[in-house]
């Protein structure tokens, strides 16, 4: 693997080509747990694990998968890794597993995992696909972790379950409820898109 290829994979995953900014893909399964930072981190780790390993597996098998049924094969491969994540969580972190509820299983239908398998792993060798999976997972995770950080801080005055804001702080209960997630993501997209638009205007001028 050449260095410039690896660099491109990393910058694509973390930078402006990040799927969350561009098409708002794959927020379904994770946005719901962003009211608590710890749960978000666990979900994100699960997602990175699934994306990386499923991309690698799809890439190993890419020459043997018939094109007609490739979506189904990809979904099955992803589902296998999600089951592993679910069982590990149930065994080692039963509390978190209970709080996450069905959302771990919903990683299967997360568009990012599928998108990487379909868009990258089918046409690239395993090593690169693995890296691509990791970095698109990380690129996705930092967006959600930022959202979770702000929601937990403003919604309950806590970071990682520890009270950091004193008595003077009135909890914005709206932040831990559903609308808070929608508003936070919208603001995040607004900021990032604003920068992208500015960048384009500067280049034109």
């Amino acid at each position: 693997m050449q260095i410039h290829k690896i660099k491109k994979i990393i910058s694509d995953g973390l930078g402006k080509n990040n799927p969350v900014f561009y098409q708002i893909l794959g927020i379904c399964s994770t946005l719901a747990v962003t009211n608590v930072l710890k749960n978000t981190l666990v979900m994100c780790l699960g997602l990175i694990f699934t994306t990386a390993l499923s991309s690698m597996t799809v890439s190993f098998m890419r020459k043997h998968i018939p094109t007609r049924v490739r979506m189904m094969v990809e979904v099955l491969i992803i589902a296998v890794y999600v089951i592993i994540v679910d069982l590990v969580l149930k065994a080692y972190a039963p509390d978190i597993s209970r709080q996450l509820g069905p959302y771990v299983g919903l990683i299967i239908t997360n568009c990012i995992v599928m998108g990487r398998a379909e868009g990258f792993a089918l046409s690239n060798p395993p090593g690169e696909s693995f890296l691509d999976g990791i970095f698109s997972g990380v690129g996705y995770s930092y967006v959600l972790l930022t959202i979770a950080f702000i929601r937990e801080l403003m919604g309950s005055g806590k970071i990682w379950g520890i009270q950091v804001l004193g008595d003077w702080w009135t909890n914005w209960s709206i932040m831990v409820m559903a609308p808070g997630g929608f508003f936070m993501l919208a603001i995040f997209i607004w900021i990032v898109k604003g920068y992208i638009i500015k960048d384009k205007e500067v280049k034109k001028a």
């Binding site: 189904m72 069982l87 509820g101 607004w190 990032v192 898109k193 604003g194």
Partner: protein, 200 residues
């Protein structure tokens, strides 16, 4: 009404209003954001979701309690559910294509989108985790579908109106950004229903 029937009824109402699968659980966001530009397509997709969700929750309930549980294969339910959903959608698509052409063009084109709609799998998983009985599962699947359809239709109505006032939205917010903010306000409005019915 019997106690079971009453419970199923309250789950039905709760799944539509107080516990809307889209506005409180963020499920089905991808198609919600991309297919909510026109009322016509939104209602088409909404109807397809109601139908598929009702049928798949029922099928998956039967599969889970009559096949997986007796065989002690409960841990396989993710894989089995997703296969059932994909197979069912494929089957319906084929049947609709043969039986009625107008129906295929109004509904069938949305069917492939539904396989990867997280709301469908989400509804099936919620039903297992909350230990619903058969009747409650049926009510929940239907209610969650109707709730989703309601949300996407409302959103399409708002976006159609919004398209007429182009230029007043900040550039960075156009498209997904403003849609998310509207969804947030809709979620706020739906919080008004909370407390009237309980999902569990």
């Amino acid at each position: 009404m019997t106690e079971n029937g009453w419970m199923a009824f309250s789950i039905l109402i709760a799944a539509i209003f107080t516990d809307n699968i889209l506005l409180t659980n963020y499920l089905g966001m991808c198609s919600f954001l991309s297919v909510s530009k026109e009322i016509k397509t939104a209602t088409g997709l909404g109807t397809a979701v109601v139908f598929v969700m009702t049928c798949t929750t029922v099928i998956n309930w039967l599969v889970y309690y009559y096949i997986l549980m007796p065989l002690d294969l409960g841990y396989l339910y993710f894989i089995v559910f997703i296969v059932v959903i994909a197979a069912f959608v494929q089957l319906v698509e084929m049947i609709v294509e043969r039986v009625s052409e107008p129906l295929y063009y109004s509904l069938g084109i949305f069917l492939p989108l539904i396989t990867v709609n997280c709301a469908i799998l989400g509804a099936c998983l919620f039903m297992i985790i909350r230990n619903y009985g058969f009747l409650s599962s049926l009510a929940y699947g239907f209610g969650a579908g109707v709730g989703w359809a309601l949300a996407i239709t409302c959103m399409a109505g708002i976006r159609e109106k919004m398209a007429k006032v182009k230029g007043k939205i900040p550039k960075g917010l156009e498209g997904a950004g403003i849609t998310l903010i509207i969804a947030g306000i809709m979620a706020l409005a739906f919080i008004g229903f909370s407390g009237t019915m309980n999902i569990r």
